[in-house]
């Protein structure tokens, strides 16, 4: 099986989807001729023509708004917002329109739409190239929200998202594009090629939305993570020696609550991990659900290890990023609590 980076896997998902279905169209800022600033759409315009893959004006609201019209027409737009930090001008179209079209029209009009956005930090991108706005989507009824952590899932989930009948927010952890990253920013960069989940089939397959996966089984504590944080979790577990179970959520909404509850019921302890700011982050929802569903199993409060409640700073990136040191400390603390 070929080895792919996350970028290649995403490109392959788009390619496979465009080849199978003429209704799949791809556009966004710099997406057409150039192939996107992260090159996820490279070669697609050449292969499928300017009607299927093209450059858009710098108007996120226009990009999403036109895509909604296209989806209502019957196309399957898979659009790119250059950075998740730039989705705010499109937020009205996403929240008030894409998410509600089916409901409003009692199913007469639908909105099968995928909005891809690079998300998260770790690239010295400062406050407008580092954000993790997933909680701003999970609060919105009618949206599905997906965050892959590796090339294999990225491709399978993206194809599933494109084939889904409803609007899907597809958040791509940009720090993972070219290699796995466990938060050890001062160690040499590793390539995907050496990671088992970079083995990606060339053709069509899907990874179902709404299903989490256990990346590491363990007994002492459950770590709930997604995107880059899955790698941070695995690193911290290895370094601390704490026998943690690491769950990669993959889809935040609909959430695979069953897998979570089964794990926490077993371990009795839970740490929620994300890059986004703490307050009202998706970790709050996870914490609330875990305490609702596993209350009598919990031996310690659910802990949240997250970014701070500040804008994402440039120079102090590694003081902000919840890396393996911070998680490691939390792991040691939580297993000692009773």
């Amino acid at each position: 099986m070929p080895r792919m980076t996350m970028i290649e896997a995403i490109r392959s998902a788009l390619d496979v989807s465009m080849a199978r279905n003429d209704d799949v169209v791809v556009y966004g800022e710099d997406v057409g001729f150039f192939g996107g600033v992260f090159r996820c759409t490279q070669g697609l315009q050449q292969k499928y023509g300017v009607s299927r893959c093209f450059d858009a004006p710098i108007s996120e609201s226009g990009i999403v708004g036109t895509a909604i019209g296209m989806a209502a027409y019957g196309l399957r737009p898979c659009i790119e917002i250059q950075f998740a930090d730039y989705m705010y001008p499109a937020y009205d179209q996403i929240v008030s329109e894409a998410a509600r079209l089916r409901y409003r029209s009692a199913g007469d009009f639908t909105c099968p739409l995928v909005i891809r956005m690079p998300t998260g930090g770790g690239i010295f991108g400062g406050q407008t190239h580092s954000q993790s706005p997933e909680a701003l989507f999970t609060h919105v009824s009618g949206l599905k929200t997906v965050v892959p952590s590796n090339p294999y899932d990225a491709k399978g989930l993206l194809i599933a998202a494109i084939e889904d009948p409803d609007p899907v927010i597809f958040l791509e952890p940009k720090r993972l594009y070219n290699g796995p990253f466990d938060g050890h920013h001062d160690r040499p960069v590793t390539a995907w090629a050496r990671h088992e989940l970079s083995e990606v089939p060339e053709g069509h397959y899907t990874t179902p939305l709404g299903k989490a996966v256990t990346r590491r089984a363990g007994e002492a504590v459950t770590i709930l993570a997604y995107g880059t944080m899955v790698h941070v979790a695995l690193a911290a577990v290895e370094e601390t020696g704490v026998d943690a179970e690491v769950i990669d959520l993959r889809t935040l909404l609909p959430l695979d609550l069953e897998t979570i509850v089964a794990s926490v019921a077993k371990t009795g302890r839970c740490i929620v991990l994300h890059e986004a700011t703490l307050t009202s982050g998706f970790g709050a929802e996870l914490t609330a659900l875990v305490q609702e569903h596993c209350f009598y199993h919990l031996e310690a409060p659910v802990m949240r290890v997250t970014g701070w409640d500040t804008p994402y700073p440039h120079a102090q990136e590694w003081d902000y990023f919840p890396g393996p040191a911070r998680l490691g400390q939390a792991l040691r603390d939580i297993v000692e609590t009773r």
């Binding site: 909604i68 409003r104 009692a106 639908t110």
Partner: protein, 408 residues
């Protein structure tokens, strides 16, 4: 160089306010028949002046004159008149139903009936409108059942939208009427996307985008213009300038240019007398043909007047002179078309009265039928189950749990 005098802040004000005399002297109105009619493939830069004029067909005596006289047979005009009369009667009945507590809210079209009724006739059956809340004429002129409209307004058990939407927020794919959003202007750019899709698929369907004068200030209006202009999308961009946005006069949205049609980006723009059924139809037809021939978008400003209140929650006497609507220089669209037909020998006061009675009977019969299915607070209701359906194509686990909680 630096002025010694301090700056001062400028806030535009309408010509008159409650207590004052209505004053439309600022609205300059060209003679009917006086504006030229270019071919549909005219280069946009050659018709920039049309964005500052007003295309009119019906003159004071009700005669249709000039190059924009449309190719409409008299029975088509009679049908158009009936559509407008139906809409007006529908409005009156539903306004009253709201006052009687049968629904929570209603919005009238009074004075603007020609715009949506005439446009719908110019459009093809497979085209799609992306309307605001003030274009029910698009449904009525396309024979969407009045009963269905009323059931939506009553949120009753036959409401096609299952009680979920505010009254008048209709939706019907089959009738080329896109789901109305409560959020202004969002649909304007969606229309452009729909039109782009038609071109991408190499179909021949076109889209019509709708927006009010006040809402052109919204961001999505700009996005729509940018995308329509860039991709030459087959879309007609309709701006209904009815002079008011709730209590805010059009000068607050219009900016200094005195026209909504001159918004640049190289999109050809026409301005039309929106109370003149014939002119409205003719201009719509021109723009629709342009789009159909892949010549790209057209922006149309319909100059009209919101004679009624903004909605049942509004009282315009607080912000404009009481009898302003009577002074509106472009008259009433129903009366003007009626007079044209009479002048043309195709209509009479008696036939008009008789039609009025027929329309009234039809609307009342529909209302009875609709009310048999319930009104907002009594009779048949949509189910609480319907709260949880259609959020997604399939009910996800968390919504199943929530639905169980209310035991439906």
């Amino acid at each position: 160089m630096t002025s010694p005098t301090p700056l001062h802040f400028h806030v535009p004000e309408p010509a008159s306010r409650p207590g004052g005399k209505p004053d439309f002297s600022g609205v300059s109105i060209p003679k009917a028949g006086s504006v030229r009619r270019p071919p549909v493939d005219v280069p946009p830069e050659e018709i920039r002046d049309l964005a500052y004029s007003i295309i009119r067909v019906l003159n004071h005596e009700g005669r249709a004159i000039g190059p924009w006289v449309p190719d409409l047979a008299q029975d088509e005009l009679v049908a158009g008149l009936r559509h407008m009369m139906t809409l007006r009667t529908f409005d009156a009945r539903m306004q009253m139903a709201q006052r009687q507590g049968k629904t929570s809210f209603y919005m009238q079209h009074t004075g603007e009936e020609a715009v949506s009724c005439a446009f719908r006739i110019a459009l093809g059956p497979d085209d799609m409108n992306f309307p605001t809340y003030r274009q029910a004429g698009l449904l009525i002129a396309h024979d969407y059942p009045l009963v269905d409209m009323m059931c939506q307004i009553y949120s009753n058990e036959h409401d096609p939208l299952k009680g979920r939407q505010l009254p008048v927020m209709y939706s019907s794919k089959k009738h080329g009427f896109f789901s109305i959003s409560g959020n202004l202007a969002t649909q304007f750019v969606q229309a452009v996307g729909w039109a782009m899709a038609s071109a991408i698929k190499r179909d021949n369907r076109i889209a019509a985008a709708w927006i009010g004068d006040g809402s052109t200030a919204e961001s999505d209006f700009h996005a729509a213009l940018v995308f329509a202009s860039t991709y030459k999308a087959p879309v007609v961009l309709n701006v209904v300038n009815n002079q008011w946005a709730i209590s805010t006069f059009q000068g607050i949205a219009r900016g200094g240019s005195g026209t909504f049609a001159a918004r640049g980006l190289g999109i050809p723009a026409l301005r039309v007398d929106g109370n003149d059924y014939l002119a409205t139809y003719a201009v719509a037809k021109w723009a629709i043909e342009r789009a159909r021939l892949n010549l790209g978008p057209t922006l149309i400003e319909y100059v009209t007047y919101r004679a009624g209140a903004h909605s049942t929650s509004d009282d315009p006497s607080a912000y404009r002179p009481k009898h302003e609507s009577e002074e509106w220089p472009l008259g009433d669209p129903v009366i003007r078309l009626k007079q044209h037909l009479i002048a043309a020998g195709a209509w009479s006061e008696e036939r008009h009265k008789q039609t009025e009675a027929e329309v009234h009977a039809t609307v009342i019969a529909a209302q009875k039928e609709a009310e048999a299915f319930g009104t907002l607070h009594s009779g048949g209701k949509p189910s609480a189950r319907d709260i949880f359906e259609d959020v997604y194509a399939e009910l996800p686990p968390h919504l199943r749990r929530q639905r169980q909680q209310i035991g439906v």
